[in-house]
């Protein structure tokens, strides 16, 4: 009897293992979640390196990972200062865009007329290409000013934050609104105690989407004039002078910067929402 039950367990385990790969312990699974993408990345890099050194792909066309690393180490101070500059522009743009986005969404949620007035402007801002705006703003604010880039980052972040926040402000339920009215809450209390907390997850999602957009916009804006020194302008000049390995090194730094922004806003979202259940209560 013991042997049959043992057999049943073994076959049962084998059966589930064959059907779904979730037979691992949670610990193995969390290790795998980190290890799997890293090993995939290393494999891709290895193939890339082999392609260039053994496969005979011209190093001029496709620089090998090792040569990119060499450039990265050699130009490390420049990479760091360029990342800091682009990062500052992105951060300022993101902060201003968030602030303006949240405030205008609050106004649009409060007064219907403001919503109707702002809707076409927001739609226009949503479709304006950075490529079109960058040269104009750069020449407007002079060749030595970072303001144009910060403004572009702000405009790019404004749109998703405005749209998400406005949606969040409209999520209050009738029973909560009745309750606040029954408590004779004034509009400030209404905003602080009900509307803002209800909109919080929406605002945070908007900021997370905007964070990547801010970095991309600040970086791309550097391609179109203005002072040198940012990641975008260094990628452009390196590529123009055929220093492709160096250009790739700056591209790597750009990716790192974008990821940093994304992860920082994700962490902010987790931190704020940690003890806040997302489901509505009855």
């Amino acid at each position: 009897m013991t042997s049959t039950s043992a057999n049943a367990i073994v076959t049962g385990r084998a059966g589930t293992g064959a059907h779904r790969s979730k037979g691992w312990s949670p610990r193995t699974e969390s290790t795998l979640r980190i290890a799997a993408p890293i090993s995939l990345g290393l494999i891709v890099l290895g193939i890339w390196q082999l392609l260039v050194t053994v496969g005979g792909v011209d190093d001029y066309l496709l620089p090998s990972p090792s040569s990119i690393v060499v450039e990265l180490v050699e130009f490390w101070p420049a990479v760091v200062s360029a990342t800091a500059l682009t990062g500052t522009n992105s951060l300022l743009g993101l902060l201003v865009g968030s602030l303006v986005g949240i405030v205008t969404a609050a106004i649009a949620a409060r007064w219907r007329i403001a919503d109707q007035m702002s809707a076409p402007i927001v739609a226009a801002l949503a479709v304006v290409p950075i490529v079109a705006l960058a040269p104009v703003l750069n020449s407007m604010f002079g060749a030595d000013s970072q303001f144009g880039r910060q403004a572009i980052a702000a405009i790019a972040s404004f749109v998703p934050i405005f749209i998400n926040t406005l949606r969040g402000f409209r999520q209050t339920t009738p029973v909560h609104r009745d309750l606040m009215k029954a408590y004779a809450a004034n509009s400030g209390q209404m905003l602080r105690s009900l509307t803002l907390p209800t909109a919080r997850p929406f605002i945070l999602t908007g900021i997370r989407i905007a964070s990547s957009l801010a970095v991309i916009s600040a970086l791309v804006a550097e391609y179109f004039g203005g002072p040198r020194g940012g990641l975008g302008s260094l990628i452009a000049t390196s590529a123009a002078s055929s220093a492709y390995s160096r250009a790739w090194a700056y591209v790597g730094a750009s990716i790192a910067l974008g990821l940093l922004f994304y992860l920082a806003t994700l962490a902010l979202e987790r931190l704020v929402m940690r003890r806040v259940p997302t489901g509505g209560s009855r």
């Binding site: 408590y183 004779a184 009900l194 259940p277 209560s281």
Partner: protein, 298 residues
């Protein structure tokens, strides 16, 4: 005091003497409410007259669409009547709302999901500028009253429906209102929780001496809780009957317990309300209780 109001209310159907008009918790005179909808005008309420004395427990009962919730919302100043007059403790409903003369509970608990149980109960106190130390003691007392002390730091989604509703009731009592407005607060609860909550509510209302306007569609619930049951009929919403509860088995509300649910006077009252509801305009002011029809007390 409450005995006196009970006696005076017992003499007339709904028309008190001019002298208790001042003391009335709620006074409704000739109220009409019409809603404009896409298909035309809906007469939600027509010619409503109602007086709720201080400390009196009045239930509004009727089928869906009879305007019982609408009437409660008018008293709470959440909606405005098309015509007619409403006063709460002699003031306009708006003034009464601004003065926070009533506490309110809805069918949905309506707790704020990002606040703990304690913070939810503290919300009205917070909005009205009660100092934090006083707030803390008051919240502790209220949670003790509804038996949720150990859940003070939980969030609403960690509580069962019945517990959430108890939090909502504690919140409605936070400022010791002399009038409680409750719109089917136990509607979503299972029968056992519901009976427990009813017993608790009767005790709390008796202890605080608050008048209660209680909207329900459960006959036994209305009979168990009330001094008077107001029966309403739909399209247009009218008061078709007001039935005095004569539960001889017990002296006062504070003594109502589960035993009452099995008393013969309870069943007589259930039958009377039931016949008023189903019989439409049947005259139920006769002194002898009608014979029970069948065993269905729902």
């Amino acid at each position: 005091m409450s005995d006196q109001t009970l006696n005076s209310a017992a003499t007339a159907d709904a028309q008190p003497a001019a002298s208790d008009t001042d003391a009335a918790a709620v006074l409704v005179r000739g109220v009409n409410k019409q809603f404009q909808t896409a298909t035309g005008v809906v007469h939600a309420l027509e010619g409503i007259d109602l007086t709720v004395s201080a400390g009196e427990f009045v239930s509004l009962i009727g089928p869906s669409g009879c305007g019982k919730s609408t009437l409660m919302r008018l008293i709470a100043d959440l909606d405005e009547p098309t015509s007619g007059e409403l006063t709460v403790f002699g003031k306009t409903t708006t003034q009464a709302r601004l003065d926070q003369d009533y506490g309110i509970a809805f069918q949905q608990a309506g707790l704020l999901p990002w606040r703990t149980v304690a913070a939810n109960v503290a919300l009205p106190l917070e909005l009205h500028g009660v100092a934090s130390a006083a707030r803390r003691t008051r919240v502790a007392d209220l949670l003790d009253m509804v038996g949720l002390t150990e859940f003070a730091d939980r969030f609403p989604d960690q509580l069962s429906g019945g517990m959430q509703q108890r939090v909502a009731i504690a919140r409605s009592l936070a400022e010791e209102p002399q009038l409680l407005l409750m719109d089917e607060p136990f509607g979503a609860l299972d029968e056992m929780t519901r009976e427990k909550m009813q017993t608790d509510l009767v005790r709390i209302a008796a202890n605080t001496g608050a008048a209660v306007v209680f909207v329900t569609h459960s006959i036994p619930e209305a009979v168990f809780l009330s001094d008077r049951v107001v029966v309403m009929s739909p399209r247009p919403g009218r008061i078709s009957d007001v039935i005095e509860m004569r539960l001889s088995a017990v002296a006062g509300r504070e003594n109502r317990s589960d035993e009452l649910r099995e008393a013969s006077s309870f069943f007589e009252m259930v039958t009377e309300v039931r016949e008023a509801l189903h019989g439409g305009a049947a005259d139920s002011s006769g002194d002898e209780p009608p014979v029970a029809r069948g065993g269905d007390t729902r």
